[in-house]
């Protein structure tokens, strides 16, 4: 049976959730100089607008800023939570439109995920005075089922808009393409 026939109803099943935003999720931690310095130290980035208040304040930015390319790192979820908080997090994740899409795809065996491409656009500098970062996330497209080198699966595109807690500024957007597949082909 051809893929088109086998997965004929999938697009209709996914349609109600495409383009729907999840409730805003806040970063686990406020953006602080410690996180900025650890990110920069990781790749030995000596840019003084991340390190030296005197230089940063005299620069066009007027304050210490975060490297915008650290956007994803500054928004990584907590890597451990007390058990009494884990249920809420999992519940929040699975009840979103994206969670529903992933559950539908998992029902077809597409459970292995790999990032294909990521693009970030930075609208404004952000930094330690901006508090936590809020993420508004939505799936914008899911491709028809395709046969890839690593197995059968779909390409899912999602967007994340990043807002500062203070002043609610939209500072960046990320577009991600991921492949969700069944792992029946060669390993990536």
């Amino acid at each position: 049976m051809e893929l088109k026939e086998k997965y004929a109803g999938l697009a209709d099943e996914l349609a109600p959730y495409i383009g729907e935003y999840a409730p805003r999720v806040w970063s686990a931690y406020p953006l602080e100089t410690t996180a900025i310095h650890q990110f920069c130290g990781m790749v030995e980035d000596a840019n003084p607008v991340y390190w030296r208040p005197d230089v940063a304040e005299a620069s066009r930015f007027g304050r210490v800023i975060a490297p915008p390319q650290g956007l994803m790192a500054f928004n990584i979820d907590a890597w451990w939570l007390p058990e009494y908080l884990r249920g809420d997090v999992e519940q929040a994740r699975t009840s979103t439109p994206e969670g529903k899409i992933r559950a539908i795809l998992a029902g077809h065996g597409f459970t292995t995920v790999t990032v294909v491409e990521r693009e970030e656009e930075y609208f404004e500098p952000f930094g330690p005075e901006d508090g936590h970062m809020g993420r508004d996330r939505r799936v914008t497209a899911v491709s028809p089922v395709k046969q890839t080198k690593v197995g059968t699966g779909v390409f899912m595109t999602y967007e994340i808009e990043y807002h500062t807690q203070h002043n609610e500024r939209l500072v960046a957007i990320a577009r991600n393409v991921t492949l969700l597949y069944d792992g029946t082909g060669a390993k990536p």
Binding site: Q38, F39, V43, A46, V49, F61, Q69, A73, V115, E119
Partner: protein
């Protein structure tokens, strides 16, 4: 190293290549990756787990490369420069023992309203694949 404040946009020439840059990846690099990005996915710090999942060893995550690319671009553009856009695609893992060679070329220069933008294409060669990482960046100069 000292990062210069700025490079004049008028003096940027399309086709110019940035100074080649190398970075040796060690197990310590991978440990710093975990600290710098708080990414505790085992594939980046647990060698048997990485190998069970088809990788030759633990490997650098996307966020580490974003950090390195941002560093290379703003060291060139100066600390008054600001990244406006970055796309990144990973084609091959960067593992302990690898020497990464970063190449960057100016591919465009444009003024959009009051912004002075320069586009660069970057590749990272990990010794096994010349385009282990490919990235396109737009940086705003002053």
């Amino acid at each position: 190293m000292t990062v210069r404040p700025r490079i004049p946009w008028d003096e940027v020439v399309v086709g110019n290549k940035l100074e080649p840059f190398t970075f040796d990846v060690t197990y310590s690099t991978l440990a710093k990756d975990v600290v710098g990005t708080r990414d505790l996915y085992r594939i980046h710090h647990d060698p048997p787990f990485a190998q069970e999942n088809g990788a030759p060893n633990i490997f650098l995550n996307t966020m580490w490369y974003q950090g390195l690319i941002g560093r290379v671009v703003t060291e060139w553009g100066g600390y008054e420069s600001f990244l406006r856009k970055m796309s990144i695609k990973i084609n091959s893992h960067g593992c302990p023992g690898d020497t990464l060679r970063v190449g960057a070329t100016v591919v465009g220069r444009e003024r959009v309203e009051d912004r002075l933008l320069v586009a660069l294409d970057l590749t990272i060669d990990n010794g096994r694949r010349a385009d282990a990482v490919v990235s396109s960046v737009k940086v705003e100069l002053v």
